[in-house]
Amino acid sequence: MDFFLIAVIVLGSIGLVAAIVLYVCSKKFAVNEDPRIQQVNALLAGANCGGCGYAGCSGLAEALVKGADKGSIDGLNCPVGGADAMTRVADLLGMAIANGEPKIAVVRCSGSCDKRAKTAEYVGLRTCAAMNTCGAGETGCGYGCLGCGDCIDACPFDAIHMNPNTNLPEVDEQKCTACGSCVKACPRTIIELRKKGVKGRRVFVSCVNKDKGAIAMKSCKAACIGCGKCTKVCQFDAITLGNNVSYIDANKCRLCRKCVEACPTKAIHAVNFPERKTGAPLTVEQPDKTTLS
């Protein structure tokens, strides 16, 4: 009996001492954090993807609270949570936000295996970064997609996959959150975050080749040759031509698709438009699919 009592007293005292120490420590070493940070954090998506530009959701939450104290949370956006989450955060903090346009990653290269001939054989580490350092790659185009999938490895949302037939990456419209990881991963800046567009419709130049037209055509049949026909045809001043390649400004583009028809190499793509009844061979696509042709 004695033994039992001693055991109880000893263990009980240890427990009591430990509890007191823990309590004192929790009070003395407590980190004073603004409680709002936790609340904002709870409203954010929680993916810790870094798409906002901060390391983790708590980083963005802190920045939002600091911004709110300074009077503005402009420029801070969670692309994963989207307008939904940002509205709730703004309400919590008592701020107003500008409505950001939803964006999506767009792969601006259509140099698939059938359009772009292989001119060399690369051996060694198969990453886009390594192949880019080695040289132009396995084709004649020094600006085009290398097909090793650095963008696919970088995506935290499983929203981009390699099409084995074309050897080009394709973005899944449903899953892409425009966090920008693939944009950073691509050593040739082929991927761009563009406005998703009304009903997901957008028009863009699917080429970033800066070589002169004749050389670009030799490397790839779907290249932009810098002929400028698209710039002439566009009534909204949305297309600029520089360095032998065209670029469509998404803010000015009205989706009329005249440039798509005018392009001689079909380098301009229109995505998510319904089939035209006139039968002109446009590059259209169904909303569910994930392809860029």
Binding site: V123, G124, L125, A129, C134, G135, A136, I215
Partner: protein
Amino acid sequence: MNIRTFRIGGIHPEENKLTHENATLVAPLPQQAIFPLSQHIGAPARPVVQKGDKVKVGTLLAEASSFVSAPIHSSVSGTVAKIDSAIDATGYRKPAIIIDVEGDEWEDSIDRTSTLETVSAHPELTPQEIVERIKLGGVTGMGGAGFPTYIKLCPPPTAKAECVIINAVECEPYITADYRLMMEKSDEILVGMELLMKAAKVSNGYIGIETNKPKAIELLTEKCAKMFQNTPYHVEVVPLKQRYPQGGEKQLVDAVIRRQVPAPPAIPVNVGAIVQNVGTAYAVYEAVMKRKPLFERYTTVTGKRLQSPANYLVRMGTPMQMLIDLCGGMPEGDNKLLAGGPMMGKALTSTEVPICKGTNAVTILSGDEARRMEPQPCIRCAKCVGVCPMGLEPYLLSKLSAFKQWEDAEHEDIVSCIECGSCQFTCPAHRPLLDHIRQGKQTVMGIIRNRNTKKQ
């Protein structure tokens, strides 16, 4: 006699000096010469000619566009066909001046005689004058890197030059261009060395040569003794153990003067040494004494399956295809075309790439030599650690780079890597160590640059 060598790491690849005893041939002129505007470290040169201009051999085609830059001179006479883009040794299309070759007319200012001009016969050559002529002659590092020579001769105020070390090591397999240059133009090289020492205002000079070139060591030792006999210069020919990468400037400095250059951004002149390739010394002689700008060089064209490998005196701008044809054409089967040697050379996708200032060899690896074996998992044998000449741990740097742990990679001194390839050469599991490390090094250097610019 104790043969000097560098103290950390090193490997012994097969020599394959197929063209060691082949006397240098003069390569014929090409039909079209291509001059990329970026043949050196620094900003690309700015063209000063236009389409249709007539040029002679030695005419200025493009001027230096900034402090760290170099001019480019024509190696042929003819008409400027176009200023367009052409594939260069980086594998990408870069701006280049393309000239249709007509005849072989030289600029009158160039002294084409073969009389040996000595420094003592030209007291008007002050250090400043020598540096100026080197700068105007467009002389850049001929060992491959292409750093503008005149900048090396003007060290920053924090560093004091104590000696000039001539890099005649040629540790890479296959390449014999520097050796042939030493055997055929030794007097000119020594005058060039004296010019460099005068310009750098030093009196000590060393010529580092590997022991696999005994005739060159003998010849230069003899000539050095005669030439620098009654001068204030002390020049020593230093035989070095045959080991790769003995020719790396950091390893050379360690072997010759037993001093180790600190980690980047330090450079050899921080420990008092100005290192110049032996080809550069020759180019300096020609630029200063013969007013001949840099437009031709010794290049080895070699490969085990090449019909007749040889050493050529080649005009820059000559497409490699022409030289390969002279040697019997591309062999059948798989081939890898390298600008440079097998350890640090650049693999090319096109045979139309021109010979540039830094192209010391055209190496063709055929058959099995052209391919790599399948990598296996790392067996942690630590052989890569044993051979790294910079004392790094390649297995660790490669793993950190593959997993994008940039902070840790920086902490493990990844920026000190000289990309010599000894680790990958040695790895029994055939792992692409240097492929990973190179990526990591580039990324970490970018991070450091961003950090430094943010500070300012």
